[in-house]
Subunit: 253 residues, 4 copies
Amino acid sequence: MTNTQVTLFQIDNYGPWTVTPEPRREADLQTLQSRLYADISQFVGNRDGYVFFTRFDNMVAVTNGCSFEDHELLQESVGNRYPVTLSIGVATGTNPVQALADATARVQEAGSAQDKTRRECLEGRVIEDGHRTDDDVQIAHFDVVNATGQYTDELNAFDTFIEIEQGYAELMRHMRYAHDSLSFFVGGDNIIVVCPDLEAADYEEAIHHVNDAVDVELQVGVGRGKSAHDAGFAAKHALETCRADGTRVELEF
Amino acid sequence: MTNTQVTLFQIDNYGPWTVTPEPRREADLQTLQSRLYADISQFVGNRDGYVFFTRFDNMVAVTNGCSFEDHELLQESVGNRYPVTLSIGVATGTNPVQALADATARVQEAGSAQDKTRRECLEGRVIEDGHRTDDDVQIAHFDVVNATGQYTDELNAFDTFIEIEQGYAELMRHMRYAHDSLSFFVGGDNIIVVCPDLEAADYEEAIHHVNDAVDVELQVGVGRGKSAHDAGFAAKHALETCRADGTRVELEF
Amino acid sequence: MTNTQVTLFQIDNYGPWTVTPEPRREADLQTLQSRLYADISQFVGNRDGYVFFTRFDNMVAVTNGCSFEDHELLQESVGNRYPVTLSIGVATGTNPVQALADATARVQEAGSAQDKTRRECLEGRVIEDGHRTDDDVQIAHFDVVNATGQYTDELNAFDTFIEIEQGYAELMRHMRYAHDSLSFFVGGDNIIVVCPDLEAADYEEAIHHVNDAVDVELQVGVGRGKSAHDAGFAAKHALETCRADGTRVELEF
Amino acid sequence: MTNTQVTLFQIDNYGPWTVTPEPRREADLQTLQSRLYADISQFVGNRDGYVFFTRFDNMVAVTNGCSFEDHELLQESVGNRYPVTLSIGVATGTNPVQALADATARVQEAGSAQDKTRRECLEGRVIEDGHRTDDDVQIAHFDVVNATGQYTDELNAFDTFIEIEQGYAELMRHMRYAHDSLSFFVGGDNIIVVCPDLEAADYEEAIHHVNDAVDVELQVGVGRGKSAHDAGFAAKHALETCRADGTRVELEF
C-alpha cells in the first residue's frame, strides 16, 4: 500500500515582493523562479525525491527519504542564497491528494501566502526510516505516442504545445478526481503522476478517457518503490518497453 | 502595427539523449532544463526580450532587440556549457502565430528534433534596427482575480493548480484561434500573452469566454512597446491599475 | 585525534576539452567552472562537508559525512548535467596533507588528467559512520585584521588583492610544511585551513610568521567537530570573539 | 595605445551580512559567491568583456564594450535575484592599474564597503563607441609549461596548487609594479594579465623573473583587440603556438 510523503514549498509573500517597490523585470523573475526550482530539485533529488515546478511560487514534491532536518536545512540554505524565503508543509498518507491537502493546510494555518509576517514556517510529519517499505510510492510516467513524428516535426511549436497542454489538462483533472493522483507536466511530452495503488485497468481507462476527450494518445510506464526516484526510474524503464513493443500500458511490478 | 520577432529554441536530439545509454535521473533532467531556460531568459532578457519555458526542450521567445549575431553567440555559449546543443529558428511578422510558424519551419526544414545529425542549425531573419518602432510588440499580462484569497489560502495546492491550469488551457486556445496570439503560463497565477494589434473589446471578450467556459475570473493589463520588456513592463503597470481600481481590462496606451 | 576524510575532484581531460576543436570563450569557461564548483559545494555542504574551489579543474574537499555512494551520486549527477565529467579519489588520515596525497594518488593511478580514455574513476575509502567522532576535523578560519579599514576602503582594489594574496601564499606554505595543514582562500579576506591536532601556540606562531614575512596581520578562530561544517561553524564563532575582544587566536574547544 | 575600461564590482555591506544575525553556512556563502560571479561573467562576457573572480566580494572586470546602461542593467538584475546588492565603479585609461585605481576611488567615495547605508552606487565613465579602437586592450595569457606532466600527474594536489600559487603571487606583483598590469589566476594553471602596451622583451623578462624567484616556468601568448574577448582569444591562439612550437613568448600582433 502506498504511503506518499508530500511536501509543499511556498515562497513567502512572493506576489507583493515581485511588485515592491516597483514591478521587477519579468526575465529576472523567470530566472529566479527557475533557478530556485532547480536547486530544490537537486536537494530533494539527491535524496531520491522528486520536485515538480507546479506554479513556481508553490512547488509540490514527493519527499519519501527526506527527513524533517533535511527540510530545515533546505529552508535555511534557500534563505541564505535568495532574496525570498520558503514556508514548508509536509504530510503523509495512502492517498497522495489527501497528503498534499494536509501539507497545504499546515502552511495555510501558519498564515496567508501574502502575509507580511509569515516567514519560513515548517510544519508537518515525515515517515520514519524504520517505517518505509518498497511499496510506498507509485509513479506513472506518461508521454504522447510519437509526439515527435505527429507534432514536433509537423506543426508549429505553439500548436504542438496546445495539443500537449490539452492532454495534460484533461489527464490532471481525471487522475485527481477519479484516482486521487497528482499529475505534473515535466517538459517535452512527459507527464509524471503520483498515484495511490492503481492497477493496469485504471491506467487503460485514463488513457481512453484522454483520447476520447481531447484526441491526444498517451502511453504509460508505471513503477513502485521506496522513493520517488526508485518508483520513477522503474516507470521510465516500463515506458521504454511501451516504445519498444508498441504497447500502451506497462507496469514494472 | 505589431511586428513581432519570434525565436524558437529547440534542444537537438533531446529525447534520445535523455535515455542513452540509460534513462537519466529525472531530478537531473529537471535541473538541466530549468537552468538552461534560466540562462536563455537572462541572455534574451538582458536585451529586452522575453523567453517562455514552454516545453523546455522547445522554448518560444519574443526577441525584438536581439540580432542574428546575438542568437549565434547564445547558441555558442550554450554549446560550451551544457551537454546538449540548441537549434534556432527566427522569424518576424504582424501575426505572432504566423511568425512562430515560420520560425518553427526553419528548424523543421533543417531536420527532425530527433535527427542524429542535426546540430546547432540557425536560420531565419531579424528586424533590422532601423526598422523597429514603438508599436512592434503588444503584450497582455493576465492574472486570476484574487487568486490568493479565493484559491491559494483556501484550497489544497493541487486543486488551486487545477483551477489555474484550466484557465490557462482555455485562454491559450481561445487567444490562438480567435486572436492569433501566443499565451504562456509564467508562474503563480500569471499568464503572459503575445498579441497582434488587439483592442479592449478583444480582451473583454476573452475574459468572458474563459469565465463562461471554466469559471475562472481573469483580469488583464496590456502594453505596447519596441521590445517585449517595454511592452510587458507597461502591461504590468496596467495590471496594477486593475488591482488598485477593481477593473478587469486596462490598456496602457 | 583528527581523522580527516579528504576528496579530490578532478575534471577529466579538461585542458584538451577547453581547446578542442578550437579554444572556447574564456567567459564561458569561467561560468562553467564556477557553477560546477557551486553545485559540488551545495552537494557536499548539504552533508556538512566543505569544498574549496582550489584550481577549479582540481577541487579539494573535506567530506567527513559523505559516504562512498554519495560520491557516486554526485559523479553521476555532474555527468548528467555538464559537458565534462569528474574523476574522484577519497582517502582518510590523521594528517590532512597525507590524506590528500593518498586521494590524489588514487586518481593518478587511474590515469593522467589529460588521458583521453580516463573517465569518471572513483577510488578510495571513507570513514564508516560508526567510527566518526567529534574530534575528526579541526578547522581554522583566518582573516586579515581590519581588512576593510586598512585595505578595502583605502587602496585600489588590486593592491588590496595583492596584500591578501601575499598573506595567503605565505600562510599556505607555512601551514603545509610546518603543520601538515591545507589552506584555502575563500573570498574577501578569509582563509580556511584544514588542520591536524594543532594547539594555540601553533596558530600564534603561524600568525607571527606571516606578519614577519609579508607584513600582513592575521587573526584566527579554531573549531573542532565531527564534520567540516561543525568544526568550521565553531571556528567562525571563535573568529567573532577575536573581532569582539581584539584577540588574535581563539579556540572554541 | 591601450585604453582599458575597468570596472570594479563590490558587494554592499557583505562582511556584516555574512554574520547577521548569525554566521551563515560556509558552503552557502561559497555557492552564492560563485554563482554571482558566474552571472556577472555571462553578462559581461556576452558583451565581449572579461570578469575575474578576484576576491568574490570585490571583482575586477575589463568592460570595453559595456555601456553605462549595461552596468545599470546588470546592477538591477543582481538586485532582483540575490540577497545582496552591488556597487560599481567604472574608469578608463592607458594604464590598467590606474584605471582600476580610479574605478576603486569612485566606489570608495560613495562609502565604505561596510557602510550600512551605501547601496548600489554606480559612478564613472565608459569609452564611447565612436572612440574605440583595435588596440584598446592587450591581454597576456600565461600558463605553466607542462603543468600536467610536471605537477598534476606527479605531486599531491596541494603541492601542485602551492607551486601554481607561488608562481601567481610572484607574477602578479612583478607585473603590477614593473608593468602597470593586472594579473588574475583563472583556474588550472592559467593566469590572464591585463596589460598596457608591452612588448616581447617585457614578457621574456617577466618569465625569467618568475623562474628565478620561485622556479616556476611560464609561457605566454599575447593578443590585442577592441575588447577583452578579442584580445584574449588572440592570446589563447598565440599560447597554442607556444605549446605547438615549444616557444615561451608569442605575440599575435
